[in-house]
Every structure is written in structure tokens, then in C-alpha cells.
């Protein structure tokens, strides 16, 4: 008997030679007792392989806590007589939820089409905005920034917040396609291509890609216009956040090609200052930008998770 058992064990361990294996299997077919013995050995093996007393104990404890304690969801014992009534209630509830979902979908698609924007702050006139931006700039940089010098440096920016990777040539927007225009020209005479909407980004904006509940970007408001002075424009971004992450600001021009190739006009980190239990986000910059439509997106530095997407114009 011990011999037979050892044979079974060798068979189950796969330690038999192919010929021995074949003859053993043949023997099993002809001998139900042997076949049963093999099955039992297999079960025993599987029992020891799967044995996990600790896990069973954990499950048993939690099971007692969650199933047999009197925190039952259904306090009254369920009887078959309740079934039609309960089923009817369930049916009505499901019908109502379905209705709400359908209305929600309708609402979503309709409003998304009609009302492209909904920014968190009440709208502000451009002059008000400019004033705020200018005040901020003066505060932060000692009034030095707003200079109307005619110098031709491509971009003037707080050096510590500029992403070093940004290629300076990225600031040349459509240099070949859009020849520079003189200032004060009526908009109609400006290169219309620079103001053409980028359909992909426009629909993304409509898709509610804007400040999440934790992070609000208050300026620029969507569609805000910034006026150039001597070829330079002062941009001011600000918002608040409760999130711990760092935020990155990226500006694209309107060209779908540039967006697809990730040619950024500007890439900078938002300045984050603590303000009671939230953080103030700000970034002010004076840059040389051609008239046109620009899109800016704000995303978390770590996860590159987009929290806000909007647009502004330079005239």
C-alpha cells in the first residue's frame, strides 16, 4: 500500500518517466479504486497548497462583523409576500433614475453646444483686468516690469519660472505664415488665420475642461482681450487652489499643427503662495506676442492632469 501511495505521489508530482506515466494512466482507467485514490490525493495536495489559515481567520472575523451583526440593511425579515410590492418600488425607482440620466445627458449636450463658457468669476472689463494685472506686477516687481521699451528681445519673463526646456524659437508664432502687422490696424486687416479657432481646443473647452472644485483660475477670463503696447503684452494669471501640487502654465497659439506638435508659446510654473488654508496662484509676464488667438492650459506638474483650459486674444 505504501508503494502504491508513493507511486501516486510520484505521478502527481510529475516525477514519472513518460512510459511509466502512460502505463500508470492506463492502470487508472482499468482500476476505479486507484483512480479514486489519485483523486483523493490530488484533493489533499490542493488542500495543503491552498491552505491559508490566517486569511480564513481574517475573512471569518470580518464576516461575523459585517453579516451577522445586527446592522442589517433590511431590518424586517423578507417574506415572499413582500416581493411584488418591493419589485414595484424597485421598478419605479429604476424608471425615475433612468429618466434623470436621460435628462442629464440632454442637458449636458445642449448646454455644451449653446453656452461655451462658464468661468468662475463674474466677467470683468478688460480695463479692470489690466488694472489688476498692472497692480500685481507693480507689487511683485517694484514697478519695473511695465516698460514700453522698444527692445527686440523676443520675450521678457521672470527667469526663475520659465521652463528651461522651452525653446526660444517657440515664441515665434507662425513667423512665416503670419507676417508682422503694424499696431493699431483694424482687426479685420490683421491676419485672420491668427484668430481662427482651433476646433479641437474649442471643443475641449466646451467639454468643461476648466477649473476643478479644488482649483479655480480666475484670470484671464475666457475670451479676454489683451492689448499690445509697442509689440509687448502683459499677461496676468491668477487663481486659488487647495491642492498641494505645483501647477504648470502652457500657452499655445491657435495653430492646430503647433498644438499637435506641442510647440508651446510659453511654459512656466505658476507662483504659489500660501493664503490661510488655500494657496494663491499667480503668474505675471510681459511678453512679445503677435496679435491672435491663444489658448492656455493649466495642469499639475506631477501628474500632468489638466485642471483648466481657456483662451484669450491679443490685439
Amino acid at each position: 500500500m505504501i508503494n502504491e501511495r508513493e507511486k501516486i505521489e510520484r505521478y502527481l508530482d510529475g516525477k514519472m518517466s513518460p512510459t511509466e506515466n502512460d502505463s500508470f494512466e492506463e492502470e487508472m482507467e482499468n482500476n476505479p479504486l486507484l483512480s479514486d485514490a489519485v483523486t483523493q490525493n490530488k484533493d489533499l495536495l490542493s488542500f495543503f497548497n491552498n491552505k491559508n489559515v490566517d486569511l480564513e481567520q481574517t475573512l471569518s472575523n470580518l464576516g461575523t462583523e459585517y453579516f451577522t451583526n445586527e446592522k442589517a440593511t433590511d431590518p424586517t425579515p423578507y417574506t415572499a409576500a413582500d416581493a411584488p410590492f418591493k419589485n414595484r418600488i424597485r421598478f419605479v425607482i429604476s424608471l425615475l433614475s433612468l429618466l434623470i440620466v436621460i435628462i442629464g445627458i440632454f442637458w449636458y449636450f445642449n448646454t455644451a453646444d449653446k453656452k461655451p463658457t462658464d468661468i468662475n468669476t463674474p466677467s470683468m472689463s478688460t480695463t479692470e483686468m489690466e488694472k489688476i494685472i498692472n497692480d500685481n506686477m507693480l507689487d511683485e516687481q517694484g514697478g519695473d516690469v511695465i516698460n514700453n521699451s522698444e527692445d527686440n528681445t523676443p520675450i521678457e519673463i521672470e527667469p526663475e519660472v520659465i521652463d528651461s526646456k522651452t525653446n526660444p524659437t517657440d515664441f515665434d508664432i507662425n513667423e512665416t505664415e503670419n507676417p508682422p502687422k503694424k499696431e493699431g490696424q483694424p482687426i479685420a486687416n490683421l491676419n485672420e488665420a491668427s484668430f481662427q479657432e482651433n476646433t479641437v481646443l474649442e471643443s475641449l473647452i466646451r467639454e468643461n475642461v476648466r477649473s476643478d472644485s479644488q482649483t479655480r483660475i480666475n484670470a484671464p477670463i475666457q475670451g479676454e482681450t489683451f492689448q499690445r503696447k509697442n509689440g509687448m503684452v502683459i499677461l496676468g494669471f491668477n487663481g486659488t487652489t487647495e491642492a498641494a501640487s505645483q501647477f504648470e502654465l502652457i500657452i499655445y497659439d491657435n495653430s492646430p499643427k503647433n498644438f499637435n506638435n506641442d510647440y508651446q508659446v510659453l511654459n512656466a510654473m505658476l507662483k504659489k503662495t500660501s493664503n490661510n488654508d488655500s494657496f494663491q496662484l499667480s503668474f505675471n509676464v510681459k511678453v512679445e506676442l503677435k496679435p491672435g488667438l491663444y489658448y492656455y492650459l493649466i495642469r499639475t506638474k506631477e501628474a500632468a492632469e489638466m485642471v483648466h483650459l481657456s483662451k484669450f486674444y491679443i490685439r
Binding site: 488542500f47 495543503f48 491552498n50 461575523t64 462583523e65 459585517y66 453579516f67 440593511t73
Partner: protein, 205 residues
């Protein structure tokens, strides 16, 4: 068009979250992580209980079915290449439902209705998993009834220790004695199991 892209991105992220949850729960079971396993109970125990009770079972049945399902998932997760493609709850619910029906509660047999809005997937391995789990519980019951010496010896043997080593650990005379003892212990366990009605029932079905 891009609206659909956005919806697609949302669904993709949603799917990613699901997969992360799947991984978390599986890892929790594999590591016997109390906090994560508690989360599984917290999230799903009530839903399974409702289903079982609605179909004529008791809270105790639900508890057993839930534990069985988690042990089945644990066992599957140990095998190489295991990947949960559906949502964890869908899989859990499916096993629970199958197990409950299979246990054949007399008043539930033909009246199981999927009243919850649960997605039910059927896996052709469910029957096999169920049988294995039921046998496991029978072995477990009888194994615990055995003397400590037999338990230790069998544990060591199935942990792939050789007979010399076992003799050494258990302070037995030699490998031959160890082999004889193991033979007797195993025989005893098998006899107890063969006499168990539940085991005979399982073989019948």
C-alpha cells in the same frame, strides 16, 4: 467628434481606476491585508447579503458565500498570469451568486432572480472552483480534528520536506518511521472524509 474623445478619455480613466481597485483588492487578499479586506466587506457585504436574503437565504449563508468567493479569488490570484478583466465586484458577485445557487438552497433553487442591477458574468470554471472550495472546507474540518502530531507531519510532508528532515524535526526514529506515520495519518484523514455526507453529496452531483 471631440466630445466623444472626451467621453472616451473619461471612460478610459474610469477603467484605469477600476483596474487599480482590482489590483488593490487582489493584493489585499494575497497579503492578508486587514484594512483592504475590510474595505471589500465594507463596500460589498451588504449587496451580497441583500441578494442572498432576497433569494431565500440567511445572513449566515451570505457570510459563507462571501468568504468562499473571496477564497476562490485568492486561490486564482495565486496562479501565474492571473488577470481580472472585469470589475472586482462583478466577479465577486458572479462567484457568490453561482455558489449560492449551486449550494441548492431548497427554497431558492428555482427562484433566483437578478434583482440587483448587478452584472453577472458566468465563467465555465465556476463549477470546478466551487467543488474545490467545498472539498477544501471538508478537509479543513477534518484536518482540525486530527491530533497535533498528525497535523504537523502532514503539513511538513506537503510543504515538500523529505522524510529524513521530517523525522529530524519531529524527533522520530528515522525516515522509515516518519513514512509509516504519514501513511497512517493520511489514511485516517481520508477515512474521515469518505464518511462525510457532504463529501458524498459533492461526488454525486
Amino acid at each position: 467628434m471631440s466630445r466623444f474623445v472626451h467621453v472616451f478619455i473619461f471612460l478610459e480613466n474610469f477603467h484605469k481606476n477600476q483596474l487599480l481597485n482590482n489590483q488593490k483588492y487582489i493584493a489585499g487578499l494575497l497579503n492578508n491585508d486587514y484594512a483592504i479586506i475590510r474595505e471589500i466587506y465594507e463596500n460589498y457585504a451588504d449587496r451580497i447579503k441583500n441578494h442572498v436574503i432576497k433569494n431565500g437565504g440567511t445572513a449566515d449563508d451570505a457570510k459563507d458565500v462571501f468568504q468562499d468567493a473571496l477564497m476562490i479569488i485568492y486561490k486564482k490570484a495565486q496562479s501565474e498570469g492571473f488577470e481580472l478583466t472585469s470589475q472586482f465586484y462583478t466577479y465577486l458577485f458572479s462567484i457568490c451568486r453561482f455558489t449560492f445557487e449551486r449550494k441548492g438552497k431548497k427554497n431558492a433553487r428555482n427562484s433566483v432572480t437578478n434583482t440587483d442591477f448587478d452584472v453577472y458574468t458566468y465563467d465555465s470554471n465556476f463549477e470546478e472552483d466551487f467543488l474545490e472550495r467545498e472539498k477544501y472546507k471538508i478537509y479543513q474540518d477534518h484536518f482540525q480534528k486530527m491530533g497535533l502530531a498528525c497535523q504537523q507531519l502532514l503539513e511538513l510532508f506537503f510543504a515538500k520536506k523529505d522524510m529524513e528532515e521530517i523525522a529530524d524535526i519531529l524527533k522520530l526514529q528515522n525516515a522509515h518511521t516518519a513514512r509509516n506515520r504519514k501513511y497512517r495519518c493520511q489514511k485516517k484523514l481520508e477515512k474521515m472524509i469518505q464518511a462525510d455526507k457532504r463529501y458524498l453529496e459533492l461526488l454525486k452531483k
